[in-house]
């Protein structure tokens, strides 16, 4: 290790006096070890900056759309309905129309949130695989107006969405898929 090795970083950062910098520059030109070290230090500096930029990029990444928490809340409310099943809720068993399709229970609350024939609305559907009719877990349909999920004008009129989501035991949404 040569005598100048302790000043290489300061020299790279232009922190040495003019005389010191001139001496060191002359030395580095003829010293392969110092040249190699300077290259390694420059690469380390660039790697540090690149790492900071990547960290910055992550922290300033766009957040979830506003309608996702809304949909999650609706799903959580649906779970509460299933768990507590208030007296006002009427259970209507629905026979499967297709032989191999899973049966389901549709919960309806009165009055309905959305009028029949509403032009634009989204339906959030929670489905879980059902093993048999007796132990069937319910399928719940919740109608949410599109205006509540998207800003005005974002969705053309006449467009509806079907949202499928699966939920964990604690009520959090595990998966969400929107279909037009």
């Amino acid at each position: 290790m040569c005598d100048f090795s302790g000043k290489l970083v300061a020299w790279m950062d232009r922190e040495l006096s003019d005389d010191e910098a001139a001496d060191l520059e002359q030395h580095v030109r003829g010293c392969p070890d110092c040249l190699k070290n300077v290259d390694a230090y420059e690469q380390a500096s660039r790697a540090f900056v690149a790492y900071c930029d990547a960290a910055m990029k992550k922290k300033t990444r766009r957040r979830l759309p506003h309608w996702v928490p809304l949909l999650s809340s609706a799903a959580a409310a649906a779970v509460l309905l299933v768990v507590f099943q208030p007296a006002s809720v009427k259970q209507i068993p629905v026979r499967p129309q297709v032989a191999d399709a899973s049966p389901a229970i549709i919960l309806e609350t009165a009055p309905r949130a959305v009028k029949k024939g509403h032009r634009r609305h989204a339906i959030a559907t929670m489905k879980t695989p059902n093993a048999n009719w007796g132990m069937a877990e319910p399928t719940i349909q919740i109608a949410i107006p599109v205006e509540a999920m998207f800003p005005p004008g974002a969705i053309p009129e006449g467009i509806t969405f079907l949202a499928e989501l699966s939920m964990a035991v604690d009520g959090s949404v595990q998966g969400l898929r929107l279909q037009q």
Binding site: A10, Y41, F48, C52, A54, M56
Partner: protein, 179 residues
Amino acid sequence: MSGDSLPLPLPLSGFAADSCEATTLYRELRKPLLRYLVGLGLSADEAQDVVQDAFLGLHMHLTSRGSQQNIRSWLFRVAHNGARNRQLSYYRRFGTPLDPDLESISEGATPEQVVLEKEKLRRVGKAIRLLTESERECLLLRAAGLRYREIGEVLEIPTSTVGDTVDRAIKKLAEKCNV
């Protein structure tokens, strides 16, 4: 070491001129300040708040005819103290503040390049976590373009100590990253 600073001339010709200088400084230093604060462990929102507070403080400082020497290090010091005041919990202060999004490295790169880049970032991250807090802070301020003397003013340590710390930190990184 000379420790020369890049002077930022601030005219004393009145409020409008001060305001103009503050605007110029805002454009020049906003992003480096944000990066420094995020590097210290603040969230993007917290960093924005601290930067706003720092520039509000600068505005009041200039309008009250405060010292116009070393305004750049003054701003970083105010932001640094603001960040530290927000970092009260042990985890947030001594946790791993720099945590890049490895999944986002795919723009215009081949799969091989993505794998290599991710591996490199992981190695750098591991090396950065081995640095002391002081070494990390010095490197963050150096990456923001501050001179050793300015870094010393921000962290309230002697310039020679900054030089030694930066030297040690860069050598550690170079060794651990195997670059």
